[in-house]
């Protein structure tokens, strides 16, 4: 059946800001869908609140709305755009839930919008645990015994039947949110309350535990002719009990016989049919008892997912793209396989390599969180690696993580378990943590048997044996080295085939990493490149999607074209996420336009950059020097772009240049110099600018001396860090000492950077483009929160909402001077702190900043595309679009205010304090645009799902230094009609200022009923709570935590609170507008 002609306009809902459980994979899927449906001649209406996405680029859809993903906004957009269809399956759980709600309310029917891909009944059947269970029973498939409960009484009865351990999953949540395994009564009660709260429908599924069973996933597709195919099978190395997003997974399945696999395949066909997913992709999870082969169905996602993105990258079969085509009427047999071009997409990809995915965690940013993996997802990103064998792909995946480990080496202290005793190792093995791989390796070193480790971890012996063999080889190499022998070429070759990095090898021998590299060159032990072709070489492939392996035949076809290599940003992590992938993708698109062959290197399977459609050539490889160098040697590019992928490629710049390749844009010298404090001070002095008083410290003594000289408070951080890692504001000696004890470990040999903390300063980000002669100021972003809150976490506005034109002009001048002095070619970001009388330069980053996509969207300028052209030699005057150029003279005014606001993962980390500081904690961001700043701010609150109340009670409690301003806030609050509840100190202060109707309330330590009781009982609708000092922070922890969990908007800075008030004021008076990007441009 050809494509439908009765549909002209299709609404696609994105997944919103990056959060744990929903990352760039939905930009990848959404962007693919937009692209292909537009090609098919459909008009695409796209809604997504996340500006750092490729899908929200104006050319991707016909009508793009960067608006909050809420029912109200979607309704407005549907009413305005009148689409005939809504494709709900591409924007993760967010889009699916919203679509379901729109359909349930009858809104879609009323407006004649058809759900395509998955109908309401299918969504409900798959998502509602009870309905799903019934459906499985109907088709004769087993599910773990379970019961859905809506109250405690019922839950207790179910517990009696199922016993411990008991899996507890709240219904309709994302990334296994609120899911837990209870081992005892106490945990049971705790998780019960937590789960009820997490579930939007207040229900929990209690389930028999199949912990330790083998876990498998199948990616299934179905078309409207009821053809069903399995695109990819995935085996979780970590057995049941760990969320699949947190599990190490391997494709294809390794340890099932064909008969066992066909049972899963047949079940998948039945499930997708019974659930009634008309067209598109679904992910189905199974558990298999390793002792008996008994299979149970765990769950199904009737939409594209993180796993489907992984499956697409693992097989070369673009699930989202095909799903979009199926949704508009095509059948699988009518769609071509992109890679072979001659065969249809109606087949099942077969692999001749092994794919390993390892999740990336950011536990170091959440020190209070137990580092234990459970059914609730905690990872923030992932890497994928491809090798001809499991060992090779595992080794490559480990070094892709960029965690300071290069294999099973002991280089990094946190991955060195040599000191553990046998019994300690046993204990460690039986808990699931993100370090378990290295503990297993150490166990093998200590002579543990595979069976012992299997008993403790339940990881299939097949995987364990591979690790064991790697450790055996490690031992042989070490032994040779100890006996004074050189690294035997045969051993070296084997080690490379088994995924050992040069760096790991260097720890086992007397050779340095470079010496090993040279030895390899001499012995001709170099990687070759093989193609991901969906068909194990049965057909010729036309898409250069490659991975390295130590095997015989090299398949990379090197063209004679001018080439540029773009190095991506690796796994998502806090501080380096989708924004940088956006930049890399734009570079690829832009340089294609300039006639270059674009070559992407990256290892993050979630991204658009690793879509084989994005660049001319894709190397799916770890971003280490060892892995990048042979590609450069093979491709001989004109240059390499390192300034767009965050810190990851920057760290490689020096070695790449040293190896004889050209770094495009800003020179390596500048990149290194800008991180050098001494150089930086000289630069600031030379230009007559100011920076906060500062010092360097290599040890505790120097630090204390510096503190004495500079005076508290101080901002302190290690060199070369990302996202303000380990950055803190320190108020006294005691905490300084404490900090140094921890930080020096974290920062290896680099000195600590100590600055005087400029209190109550306004922070401003300025991003510029430069060709070395001219400078173009791309954006001046004013932060709402004062300097000291990490720029990635703060709310900011474009254009500035309070700065005077003179100040803006001065900031621009300073940024321009810096860019010229540093000879920036491409992008540069400067962070300023403004006090009443001074402008301090806090930081200069000679690279794309996190806010580049936001500015590009807000100002409608393709900044990265321009920057890329500058890097290959174009002049600013050639590439700045005429309409933008005229703004350069200093007029940064736009018709609207765009606000960027961050979202935080605190809800996933129940032990963390939800307070903002110099270390970045946010995972993603939203953009909200309105005609005024306060209204944009109010809209941003809607977009982060924390809408501001228009009336009610406000809890106000501020630190002493904020008291003066608190008066202003209180007055404003009363003017807006809010009732104020304050802690005694704050209340007293306000009363002294002749304010009436202030209710005082107990702090937590002052006895009950206290403020947390009021929060829990729903009496408080907004929290403004600023604190200082450790004790006060501890005291107010519960306030923030409760507000977070009860979804009560709360502000931990006065500036944030004040902003919120203005926003409330605006929202009380005005209606939100909706803006279509294409109308603004």
């Amino acid at each position: 059946m050809p494509k439908r002609t009765d549909i002209k306009k299709i609404l696609i809902i994105g997944s919103g800001p990056i959060v744990i459980g929903q990352a760039c994979e939905f930009d990848y899927s959404g962007a693919q869908a937009c692209k292909v449906l537009k090609q098919e001649g459909f008009q695409i209406v796209l809604v997504n609140s996340n500006p750092a996405t490729i899908m929200t680029d104006p050319e991707m859809a016909d009508r793009t709305y960067i608006e909050p993903l809420t029912l109200d906004f979607l309704k407005k957009i549907i009413e305005k755009e009148k689409p005939q269809a809504l494709l709900p399956t591409l924007g993760g759980q967010t889009a699916l839930n919203l679509s379901r709600d729109l359909a349930r309310e009858g809104f879609l029917d009323k407006h004649n919008v058809e759900l395509i891909g998955a109908k309401l009944h299918a969504i409900e059947k798959a998502e509602d645990r009870e309905l799903f269970k019934k459906a499985m029973e109907k088709i004769g498939l087993e599910v773990p015994k379970s019961s859905v409960v809506k109250d405690k009484e019922k839950a207790k009865k179910v517990l009696e039947e199922l016993g411990f351990p008991l899996v507890m999953r709240p219904s309709y949540t994302l990334g296994g949110m609120g899911g837990n395994i209870a081992y005892n009564q106490e945990e049971f009660e705790k998780y019960l309350e937590w789960g009820f709260f997490q579930s939007p429908v207040h229900e929990i599924l209690l389930e028999e535990s199949v912990q330790g069973w083998k876990e498998f996933e199948l990616e299934v597709m179905r078309d409207n002719a009821d053809n069903v195919i399995i695109v990819c099978s995935i085996e979780n190395l970590d057995p049941m009990g760990v969320h699949t997003g947190d599990s190490i997974t391997v494709a294809p399945i390794q340890t099932l016989t064909d008969k066992e696999y066909q049972v899963l395949r047949e079940a998948s066909k039945k499930i997708i049919r019974e659930i009634g997913v008309d067209t598109g992709g679904s992910n189905i999870q199974f558990a298999v008892n390793p002792e008996t082969g008994k299979m149970v169905v765990i769950e199904m996602n009737p939409r594209v997912s993180r796993s489907s993105a992984l499956a697409s990258k693992a097989t070369g079969f673009p699930i989202a793209k095909i799903a979009a085509k199926l949704a508009v009427g095509y059948q699988l047999s009518e769609i071509a396989n992109d890679i072979t071009q001659k065969t249809p997409a109606c087949f099942e990809p077969t692999l001749d390599y092994v794919v390993t995915k390892i999740p990336r965690f950011n536990f170091e940013k959440f020190p209070m969180t137990p580092r234990v993996l459970t059914t609730q997802m905690k990872s923030v990103g992932e890497v994928m690696a491809i090798g001809r064998t499991f060992k090779e792909s595992l080794g490559k995946a480990i070094r892709s993580l960029e965690m300071g480990v290069h294999g099973f080496d002991n280089l990094k202290e946190s991955r060195n378990f040599a000191h553990l005793s046998e019994s300690e190792i046993k204990r460690e093995l039986s808990t699931v943590t993100h370090k378990r791989l290295w503990i297993i390796a150490e166990a093998f070193r200590k002579g543990f048997a595979t069976q012992t480790i299997h008993t403790l971890t339940k990881i299939d012996p097949w995987f364990l044996n591979h690790i064991k063999e790697m450790i055996e080889l490690e031992g042989v190499i070490q032994c040779h080295s100890r006996e004074g022998g050189n690294l035997d070429p045969h051993l070296l070759k084997k080690a490379k085939e088994w995924g050992f990095s040069d760096k790991w090898l260097s720890t086992l021998t007397t050779l340095s990493e470079i010496e090993i590299q040279l030895l390899r060159e001499k012995e001709n032990i170099e990687p070759v490149y093989k193609t991901i072709d969906t068909c194990a070489a049965e057909f010729e492939s036309f898409t250069p999607y490659l991975y390295s392996t130590y095997d015989e035949e090299d398949e990379s076809r090197i063209s004679n074209k001018k080439k540029v290599v773009i190095i991506g940003s690796g796994p998502n992590r806090i501080g380096q996420g989708i924004e940088f992938d956006y930049c890399c993708v734009h570079a690829a698109l832009s340089l294609k336009e300039e006639g270059f062959e674009t070559i992407m290197i990256n290892c993050n399977p979630e991204t658009v950059s690793t879509d084989y459609d994005t660049s001319d050539k894709l190397y799916f490889e770890p971003l280490t020097f060892e892995d990048v160098l042979p590609i450069l040697k093979k491709e001989k590019p004109e240059g390499v772009i390192v300034q767009l992928g965050g810190q990851t490629p920057l760290k490689l710049a020096y070695e790449i240049e040293k190896a004889g390749f050209k770094i495009l844009g800003t020179s390596v010298k500048t990149i290194i110099a800008s991180e050098n404090r001494e150089f930086f001070s000289k630069l600031i002095n030379k230009l007559g600018l100011k920076q906060p008083p500062h010092a360097l410290a290599h040890n505790e003594k120097e630090a204390l001396l510096a503190a004495h000289k500079l005076g508290f408070p101080l901002v302190i951080r290690p060199s070369f860090v990302l996202g303000g890692r380990a950055m803190e504001i320190i108020y006294d000696n005691r905490n300084l000492e404490k900090y140094i004890k921890n930080a020096v470990q974290a920062s290896e040999d680099e000195p600590l950077l100590i600055d005087r903390y400029i209190e109550d300063a306004t922070e401003v980000d300025v991003d510029v483009l430069s060709d070395g002669k001219d400078v173009y100021v791309a954006g001046v972003l004013e932060h709402l929160e004062e300097a000291g809150v990490h720029s990635g976490d703060s709310t900011c506005s474009l254009p500035p909402f309070s700065l005077s034109p003179q100040t803006i002009e001065e900031l621009k001048n300073q940024a321009q001077a810096l860019a010229l002095e540093l000879n920036i070619i491409g992008l540069m970001n400067v962070q300023f702190a403004l006090t009443k009388k001074d402008i301090f330069v806090l930081e200069v980053n000679p690279r794309a900043s996190r806010t580049i996509p936001f500015i590009a969207k807000a100002r409608k300028i393709p900044l990265v595309k321009i920057a890329s052209k500058l890097m290959v030699g174009k002049k600013l005057s050639d590439v700045i679009p005429a309409h933008s150029a005229k703004h350069n003279s200093g007029d940064l005014k736009t018709k609207t205010f765009s606000v960027k606001r961050s979202v935080f993962p605190f809800i996933k980390y129940p032990h963390e304090d939800a307070v903002l500081g110099p270390e970045m904690k946010s995972t993603g961001e939203v953009m909200a645009t309105e005609y005024t700043f306060p209204l944009a701010l109010a809209k941003a609150a809607e977009a982060v799902n924390s809408p501001l109340p228009k009336k009610g009670n406000v809890f106000l409690s501020v630190k002493d230094s904020d008291k003066a301003k608190a008066f202003e806030i209180a007055a404003e609050l009363q003017k807006c009609g809010f009732h104020i509840i304050a802690t005694r100190g704050t209340a007293q202060f306000l009363k002294e200022k002749k304010m009436n109707h202030i209710e005082s309330i107990n702090k937590v330590l002052e006895g009950r009923p206290h403020v947390v009781d009021a929060l829990k009982s729903g009496r408080i609708h907004l929290v403004i709570n600023t604190t200082i000092g450790e004790q006060a922070l501890r005291d107010s922890f519960d306030i923030r935590r409760t507000a977070l969990e009860k979804q009560i908007p709360y502000f931990t800075t006065l500036s944030g609170g004040l902003g919120a008030l203005h926003a409330i004021g605006a929202a009380q008076k005005e209606e939100f507008s909706i803006f279509c990007l294409q109308d603004l441009y």
């Binding site: 050809p2 002719a225 053809n227 195919i229 399995i230 399945i253 390794q254 340890t255 099932l256 016989t257 064909d258 008969k259 066992e260 696999y261 066909q262 395949r265 066909k269 390793p290 002792e291 008996t292 082969g293 699988l332 047999s333 009518e334 769609i335 071509a336 001659k342 065969t343 249809p344 109606c346 087949f347 099942e348 990809p349 077969t350 692999l351 001749d352 390599y353 092994v354 001809r388 064998t389 499991f390 595979t450 299939d460 012996p461 097949w462 044996n465 063999e469 055996e472 080889l473 042989v476 084997k494 068909c535 194990a536 070489a537 049965e538 057909f539 010729e540 095997d551 015989e552 035949e553």
Partner: protein, 399 residues
């Protein structure tokens, strides 16, 4: 190499075109020669090795890890390994599965099968893809390229070889289910156990007979249906079988699989040809033209059917859409629909969507059903089990 503690012995693979691959032995020591083929199934190696259709062939597995779950009694498709040799990238010596009884290397050794590991199987696959079917030699002995090449060139090619007679049962035997409803006579040209399983599950009492059994004997048994099994070799050279089938057509419901399908088509007047490198895997899309539904199929054949049937067989009551409408002209090149390929009157019922080759024949009025692929899979998807039901239906009508 699977394990550092396993002693390594070298093995060498030589292709007819002179290409040499050095690896390690993972089977029985010795030298073997056969037609080299590749199979793209990621699992199911034991079923593949024990499938009689691989008689005289050396199998390259494209998936790199083979042997992961060991071997077990249940997964045998016959009583022995028929493949002449085995080529893998990585052989697993320490399998893991509750089903495992014996590691694959041990299984290979017990069956005296020469096998080579640690070679670039993707490169080998591409050689076969580009150069077409070739003969090859694996040896664990001292390798002399000249002599080995000579040996290869002296060995027979697959063309014109009747291998069915080498693999067929010597004596006929019965397979009886609990409640037999139909008597099926099954010609054994190299029958797989799974076929017998699916037939008997559907109530067939099966008499498996040697390939050369005359049609008269079959008719004397008055079966409800006749089954023509899969098997190795060049179908055109199994002339006795073609002749016997000719006499059975129209008299009994007939169901053929793979070689059985080819023999049936030859009996009806079509031709067979040697494909460049055949179809071997578990992921081939086949369209059943009547319903336009696609099945993902298990395949294992180096010959295929083309051309017209004799006119007297071509009368049919239901129209089958032309194969060319099966693919969207916007995105995919048209399938071949030239007359040579599908004959004057297209009535082949199943078409391979990858290359348009003939995959099946279904003439309902004449109670003739045959497919090139393997509905019994083993290994592979079970999308096509309906064919066994169709066969039962054909026999039902008769009763």
């Amino acid at each position: 190499m699977g394990n550092l503690s396993t002693p390594i012995s070298k093995a060498t693979l030589l292709l007819e075109n002179g290409n040499v691959y050095e690896g390690t032995s993972c089977g029985f020591p010795g030298t073997t020669i056969g037609e080299i083929v590749f199979n793209t199934s990621m699992i199911g190696y034991q079923e593949i090795l024990t499938d009689p259709s691989y008689h005289e062939q050396i199998i390259t597995m494209t998936y790199p890890h083979i042997g992961n779950y060991g071997t077990n009694e249940d997964d045998n498709e016959s009583h022995k390994i028929w493949a002449k040799g085995f080529i893998v990238k990585n052989m697993c010596h320490t399998p893991s599965s509750w089903k495992n009884q014996k590691s694959l290397p041990q299984f290979l050794k017990e069956h005296k099968i020469v096998a080579i590991a640690d070679v670039d199987t993707r490169s080998i696959t591409k050689q076969i893809r580009n150069k077409g079917a070739m003969r090859a030699l694996i040896t664990t002995e001292k390798f002399d390229k000249e002599k080995s090449l000579k040996k290869i060139l002296e060995s027979p090619t697959m063309n014109l070889r009747d291998l069915a007679k080498e693999v067929t049962t010597e004596k006929s035997y019965h397979v009886t289910p609990h409640t037999p409803s139909y008597l099926v006579v099954a010609y054994d040209f190299g029958i797989k156990k799974s076929i017998l399983k699916y037939l008997s599950e559907r109530g067939c009492r099966i008499l498996v007979i040697p390939a050369s059994t005359s049609y008269k004997e079959v008719l004397d048994l008055n079966p409800d249906g006749v089954f023509l099994s899969n098997g190795p070799g060049d179908p055109a050279s199994v002339t006795y079988a073609i002749e016997n089938i000719r006499h059975l057509v129209g008299k009994k419901p007939i169901f053929g699989i793979c070689l059985g399908h080819q023999l049936l088509c030859l009996a009806l007047g079509a031709k067979t040809y040697k494909m460049k490198f055949g179809h071997r895997g578990a992921n081939h899309p086949v369209s059943f033209l009547k319903s336009q539904k696609v099945e993902i199929t298990a395949q294992n054949h180096g010959f295929a059917v083309e051309g017209s049937l004799e006119p007297r067989h071509c009368e049919r009551s239901e129209a089958i859409p032309s194969p060319k409408v099966m693919r969207s002209p916007q995105s995919l090149p048209l399938l071949r629909d030239d007359k040579k390929f599908y004959g004057n009157n297209n009535f082949f019922s199943h078409i391979n969507l990858n290359d348009g080759s003939v995959e099946g024949l279904y003439i309902k009025d004449k109670k003739i059903l045959s497919v090139q692929y393997h509905p019994e899979s083993s290994p592979g998807p079970l999308d096509s089990l309906y064919l066994f039901d169709e066969f039962i239906n054909m026999m039902k009508g008769r009763q």
